[in-house]
Symmetry: C2
Subunit: 169 residues, 2 copies
Amino acid sequence: MAFDAPDEQALAFREGMSRLGAAVTLLTSDGVSGRHGMTASAVVSVTDTPPTLIVCVNRKIRCHDLFVENGVLAVNVLAGRHQELTSRFGGRFQGDRFAGNNWIKLKTGAPVLEDAEVAFDCRIVDVRPVGSHSVMTCEVETVRLHALDAEGLIWFGRHFHHLHAGAPK
Amino acid sequence: MAFDAPDEQALAFREGMSRLGAAVTLLTSDGVSGRHGMTASAVVSVTDTPPTLIVCVNRKIRCHDLFVENGVLAVNVLAGRHQELTSRFGGRFQGDRFAGNNWIKLKTGAPVLEDAEVAFDCRIVDVRPVGSHSVMTCEVETVRLHALDAEGLIWFGRHFHHLHAGAPK
């Protein structure tokens, strides 16, 4: 497929990206600009020396500036049982996103979902614009691991999928 | 879990990252430094304006410098049927990694697996060191989509998992 027009290019790319499966996370933050959170799947591990993640966030989303102002965020990796949380932390939800779940604080003060599959408590050390988004480099200060028998939650082919952490079924 | 020593920190982080499910890809390149490829799961979509991916590669891996010298790479997103290719493109494989499969070229000249779930043909526009790795920003010049009924291949909990692109089973 060759690109003849920018719109066609973006459409083909979005269709292609829907086929790159990714873990579903909640990005959460607290600090001078208050407590905020959003659903995200553009999270990737960079290196373990020092432990570092990259998170990509659209600059038009309200959370973007609030995360940068707070200077910290937690990456809460969701398990299958958390699927309903993805709409609570989605763009259209009105109300208190943090109600109805247990949130704790680790080192940075960002809210951490108590029973997340795994949570990375991070300091944002670099913010770099790439097109419509910012690439946030996040150094991990603390990792919180949940019990091993949980199910992962994956977004692939425009659907949610549940995966067992043990051997595949 | 708090970190008391760098080694403990890296171990906890690696355990945590094993629970962040990710699509399995082959990164492939060709050009002035020849044809090379490796298995990778540290790939993330940044923006569709312009279509851009980020790929993280350890600077100690031979492919790293070869990719940078070639200036181009293809991200071949694997389907379930390609699982055996992950060891052929893994660190220990000796021999011609490209034998036994059909490879085509699109715009950049990077080898593209003919029946990849989706392939992104990219130009590397930025290479930035973060700890032991480089963060490569890759602008997508062409997207090649396979038929929709394929199975995705996900690495999660240190196992491969196969996902149907349609509604979850």
